[in-house]
């Protein structure tokens, strides 16, 4: 089974016995079940939210909103997908709502490019910081896309979900999802062409050869 198949299997997995008992406990308002639900899914939800929204100070709020939505919606959980898929779908919708609202809080100080930071984008000794800077700039590029296209593109290309899985997570048809990804690619290509500095930055990190 390759990675894609494994991922598909994961998303379209029916709920297992643990999920069922956990949902039962959560519906009954048992604190232990809710605690377990949060502990199990919080890391994954954090990851998805960060991937879709980018480095943001709203991460805590978005994760919190996702779990509040999930806890309030347990009554509507029909057991047609695994709990992980269900909570991921909620996270995706929370992110889309956040992106649609267009509200951007100031990013943490560490992510703001310093005014006197050298323009030479060669990797610094502190690799983590460089990666953050790069991520910030790349997500800036993503800000030009509509939330639907951005989420579809990131889920497909960065999070490795298949078209069918992206469609299931975003509540769109397969054709619409494919179209969104395609147009996102086209818009990103146009954006990169208009940003020679970013292009040079990416090439300096050795991206141009990495596909070979």
């Amino acid at each position: 089974m390759n990675r894609v198949e494994a991922q598909q299997k994961n998303v379209f997995l029916v709920p297992n016995a643990e999920d069922v008992s956990l949902v039962g406990g959560c519906r009954a308002g048992e604190r232990s079940s809710l605690e377990l639900f949060f502990r199990t899914h919080a890391p994954y939800v954090e990851r998805v939210v960060t991937r879709l929204v980018g480095p943001t100070s709203d991460l805590q709020d978005l994760v919190q909103t996702t779990f509040i939505e999930a806890i309030q919606s347990f009554g509507r959980y029909r057991g047609e997908a695994s709990l992980k898929t269900w909570v991921t779908r909620i996270a995706v919708h929370v992110c889309m709502h956040h992106l649609r609202a267009g509200v951007r809080r100031p990013v943490p100080l560490e992510l703001v490019p310093v005014a006197h930071e050298p323009e030479d984008p060669t990797p610094r000794a502190d690799g983590t910081l460089s990666m953050r800077q790069l991520a910030r700039r790349l997500y800036d590029l993503m800000d030009g896309l509509s939330p639907k296209k951005r989420v579809a593109f990131l889920l497909y290309v960065v999070e490795d979900y298949s078209l069918e899985e992206v469609a299931a997570l975003t509540g769109a048809s397969r054709a619409a999802t494919k179209s969104r990804i395609w147009f996102a690619r086209r818009e990103l290509l146009a954006a990169v062409k208009n940003r020679p500095d970013l292009r040079a930055f990416i090439q300096s990190l050795g991206g141009a050869e990495s596909w070979r």
Binding site: F38, Q60, F67, G75, R76, L138, L154, R185, I202, G207
Partner: protein, 400 residues
Amino acid sequence: MALSCRNAARISLATLGGHAAEAERLELESHLASCGRCGGDHESLLWVRHLRAYQPDPLSSTARDNIRRALFARTVNPATPRRRLVWPVAVACAGMAVAAMVGLSILQRQPYRVLGGDVVAASANPKDATAPVRFQATAGGRVSLGVAVADLARDTELSWVRSKQVLTLVRGTVTVDVEHQNGRHFEVRGHGFTVEVVGTRFTVESTGVTTERGVVRVLGPDGQLLRRLGAGESWHQQVDEGHQVSLLQPAAAPAPAAPRAGTAGESFARPKDSGPSLTARLDLARHALATGDAGLARRLVSPLFRQSHGTAVEARVLFAESFLVEGRYADAIDAYRLVARDFPRTDQAETSLFTVAQLQCEHGPGPEARGALRTYLTRYPHGRYAREAGDRLARLPSVD
């Protein structure tokens, strides 16, 4: 087979997302080596891999504690699964909205609506259903009268009383298309006669009536039944003088109209004559069509519908052509279809079917046109117009 640039772009995306198979990647590499544009595009998106490599810092334990506290501080009441009421409520709301709109439209419905032409409507009190509304058309036009649509010919004047559903022809010619409604009748009053209908299409002139569809009853001034007319039949009053009537009653073979009690002065325009008079009548109809007088042509040919086979089919074709002359294409299509249905073994049937297809094509290359061409080709695969029909069918845009 060489990879197209579009497929290369698709595989490039799949490769970035890790969805491409090994064979596809090799194919892509081969394409990128030979296509500079695709190679450039692919390189321009390689930064996405850095996003994949970017591992965001997880929330601190303090932040997670904050979230946990916030979650448990809220009143969580998820115990009972809620029924999904969104759709039922939405459907109910939509139904109520539609009902309200229909109710409003009924309440505010105008007694009539001018659909086209130079029709002038005048009424002393438009809101009073018992007050007559007068319609005048110099060049002709169309008026909707609730359950009926009236086509006014040139220089026609009508009077309409909505409460009684009575349309009175003051002068000119009117063709009425009445929608069937149970328990409601509709009347058109001519000069000295009344046409009573339930659901049909017919033409009323000052001297008579011609039915195109359905059944009408012709009543005398005293309400006595003069004639029941089926589709394609006509009835005309006998008038002693006047050019049109002299055409209807050729001097060579006058129709021996026998006046009935209480119906003095009327006769049925179904000639009992035969031979040259029928041919002459068809010739007159052709001449009328050539001069653009479609109404006269119809009056001439309508009585011939029940004559011998050859005469009847010619009459029906001329009847259909009369609608073409007037630009009433839907009526022409109906009439041609009737020819093809009633006289299937004649040349005229083939010509009529092809004419229907042509008319459908000229007025919208939709599924009707496609269907009409296919009908013709199915019935006449080696017909006189088979090649042209095939060409037209091939030229129609695909609906798939």
